[in-house]
């Protein structure tokens, strides 16, 4: 694969580059730190590729406009932070039930509410999963570096198109704001999900057997999009059998593709006694701790970087629980993903949370201390 010349890029800027390379041509949003650079980058760059940028009157409108544009056939993305992510939830649920592809970037900051503006935290792992009312599946990805931000943004756009679902990219303030050296793939070298509107005559936007791409409004296919539970053509129904089929299909389309959607990155000992399971910027601290414990001390330690948070990498955790004595779960909250790890470890390994909630990163030392504890 060809790469561009190395460049200095901010996490938020890498998100913009990834989105544009994946074909995003519409952005609507509302200013909020620490995500604003994404909006600013889009405002500068979208017009150059014939795309549309609009700053909306509020966060809710930003989400709504993104869905509207997706219905109009544009690959669409919005970016926000904690308070705005809360405001967007209802419409994220709408996109889920109406099966409209879109990407929501949440650059996490310390909360709840205004919290500490704008210190880093990883408090929205569960909100990403369960933030909207009702039961629906979701895809959520979380990068730990500037390059991963680029890469996972393109993955988010691709998944949103392929599975016709909202995809959440959970950045955090650290990764969003830091600048790093990166070499991005040369344009045109990226796998980009393409839409193909064949079978337009027989088109069922909510086909029960397959998942056709959304034919944009204006193509001469008259169907209905609604947040009501609907049949294959989009029309409201409350017939229990149809409702059950609908709900099962909504979940199945994600669950049946777990292998494709779940991305993890494993480093360290092949037969570890201790494994660190973490995500986002905390992966960086874990890597530094791993370097000391595994490379310098030669302890059997490893690291599982959860690039995909939802659907949760259950199989990966189960396998590790079978082999390890300890699973360490550092996160910048009071314990969110640790509950999932416990669920799938099923008592086979001891699960220890490592938490920090004072508005700064977990340090490598803090993690190393826990590793040391497992070996003494």
């Amino acid at each position: 694969m060809k790469y561009r010349k190395p460049q200095l890029l901010q996490g938020n800027e890498a998100c913009v580059e990834g989105a544009l390379d994946a074909g995003v041509r519409f952005f609507a949003g509302y200013p909020i730190t620490p995500s604003t650079e994404i909006a600013e980058g889009m405002a500068r760059k979208l017009p150059r590729v014939g795309g549309v940028f609009i700053q909306m009157e509020d966060e809710i409108a930003g989400m709504a406009a993104v869905i509207g544009a997706a219905v109009g056939g544009k690959k669409s993305l919005t970016a926000t932070s904690g308070p705005g992510f809360s405001l967007k939830q209802e419409n994220i649920g709408y996109a889920a039930i109406a099966e409209i592809p879109c990407v929501i970037v949440n650059v996490q900051r310390f909360g709840p509410s205004t919290g500490i503006p704008t210190a880093p935290a990883q408090g929205e792992v569960m909100q990403a999963r369960w933030g909207t009312h009702g039961d629906r599946p979701i895809i959520a990805l979380s990068p730990s570096s500037v390059y991963e931000t680029y890469y996972l943004t393109t993955a988010a756009v691709n998944f949103s198109q392929k599975f016709r679902t909202p995809v959440i990219l959970l950045l955090d303030e650290v990764v969003g704001h830091m600048r790093e050296k990166v070499s991005l793939p040369a344009s045109g070298r990226l796998m980009v999900e393409k839409q193909n509107y064949s079978d337009i005559k027989e088109y069922k936007p909510f086909d029960e057997r397959k998942l056709p791409p959304l034919v944009p409004f204006g193509e001469g296919v008259y169907y209905h999009i609604t947040g009501l539970v609907h049949d294959e053509h989009g029309f409201p129904t409350r017939h229990p059998e149809v409702v059950v089929r609908f709900m099962e299909r909504l979940h199945r389309k994600i669950n049946h593709h777990r292998k494709e959607i779940i991305m993890t990155d494993y480093t360290g000992h092949v037969e570890p006694k201790v494994c660190i399971i973490t995500y986002g910027c905390t992966v960086r601290s874990a890597r530094a701790a791993l370097q000391k414990a595994y490379l310098q001390k030669r302890w059997p330690v490893s690291l599982l970087n959860l690039q995909t948070l939802w659907p949760f990498p259950a199989e990966e955790v189960k396998r590790l629980a079978d082999r390890c004595d300890y699973l360490l779960v550092p996160e910048m909250n009071m314990g969110q993903i640790v509950g999932e790890v416990e669920k799938y470890a099923h008592g086979k390994a001891e699960v220890l949370g490592i938490n920090r909630y004072d508005g700064d990163m977990i340090t490598p030392g803090q993690i190393f201390q826990h590793i040391e504890g497992c070996f003494s």
């Binding site: 561009r4 609507a28 017009p47 549309v52 609009i54 209905h224 947040g227």
Partner: protein, 304 residues
């Protein structure tokens, strides 16, 4: 009477869910006739709606239809119109939908002067949830959440629209469907943000509680109180809140204020063309493209 364009209706989705005496059907029919009259191609028409009784209209219309979330129809429509500028977008909302939960989107759509046609069906009440007061419930009128009559003053939505920057505003009623049709045609022809307030009836949740009689009585009352803007003496009278007009009249004649006597100015309340947002956006885009060509950025350089 003009016939409805059958291909514009999803007849297999009928009968509709609206109660007997509801004005929504009349307004929807006027919309269909107006679209037929303007001659828009079916595939170019999108109907976006929010949540509430009126918003169900989208499901019965055979266009590109998008039934969204409560209050947000205009924000969805803004994204849709920007993504597909060729679409002729009609946004059907109720009074609570458009002016309470959706009030912010309403004023900002007007401010941008984006080419959307907002059809606000004003029945003065939240019908679907069973009769709670809305920002368009007249002061003193009863609702389940205002059992003694609401203390709140109502919006004059066309006044709101004009000051926010809308370029076409008209008021029609379910009692005069032909006029309403004409006004929607006018809205469709305006390149910019257009608002048509369609005064309607909710005999079940509003009329009954306020002793306004049957649906027919309510429609008759609306018709009697409707005065064409051309017949009103000054321009100020057409845009100022209706109550003031009625009150001034009442004071002169030394009568007590009776809300039933309020005048409903109908017709084109304002029309003041101004540059349209989406057109301006794309015009700017083409200019930018021309300027940028041949001046690619350094970051595009490729290295193996």
């Amino acid at each position: 009477m003009k016939s409805l364009r059958e291909e514009f209706l999803r007849t297999n989705k009928l009968p509709h869910i609206w109660c007997p005496g509801c004005g929504n059907g009349i307004v929807t029919a006027a919309l269909v006739r107006a679209i037929g009259k303007v001659g828009f191609e079916q595939k170019d028409v999108a109907v976006v709606s929010g949540i509430g009784c009126s918003s169900r209209a989208a499901g019965y219309l055979n266009f590109n239809t998008l039934h969204t979330t409560h209050g947000r129809a205009l924000a969805f429509a803004t994204g849709l119109k920007l993504a597909q500028p060729g679409l002729k977008v009609f946004v059907v909302m109720g009074d609570g939908d458009a002016t309470a939960i959706g009030g912010n989107h309403f004023i900002h759509a007007a401010r941008r002067n984006i080419d959307l046609n907002a059809i606000i069906i004003n029945n003065h009440i939240y019908g679907m949830t069973g009769g709670q007061h809305s920002p368009l419930t007249p002061e003193g009128k009863k609702a389940t959440t205002a059992p003694e009559g609401t203390l709140e003053r109502e919006f004059n939505i066309l006044e709101l629209a004009v000051s926010a920057g809308a370029t076409y505003g008209a008021r029609g009623t379910a009692a005069q469907p032909r006029l309403l049709e004409k006004l929607i045609v006018g809205a469709s022809q305006n390149e910019g943000f257009s608002v048509v307030e369609a005064m309607s009836t909710c005999p079940v949740s509003y009329g009954r509680r306020n002793r306004l009689g049957s649906a027919v009585d309510m429609l008759k009352d609306i018709k009697q109180r409707s005065v064409s803007v051309e017949k009103l003496e000054t321009k100020a009278e057409t845009t100022r809140p209706r109550r003031d007009i009625a009150e001034e009249g009442a004071e002169e004649e030394g009568e007590t204020h009776d809300k039933q006597e309020e005048v409903i100015p109908v017709g084109v309340i304002f029309s003041r063309p101004a540059p349209e947002f989406v057109e301006r956006y794309y015009r700017g885009l083409n200019k930018e493209k021309e300027g940028k060509e041949g001046k690619e950025e350094k970051e595009g350089q490729v290295e193996s």
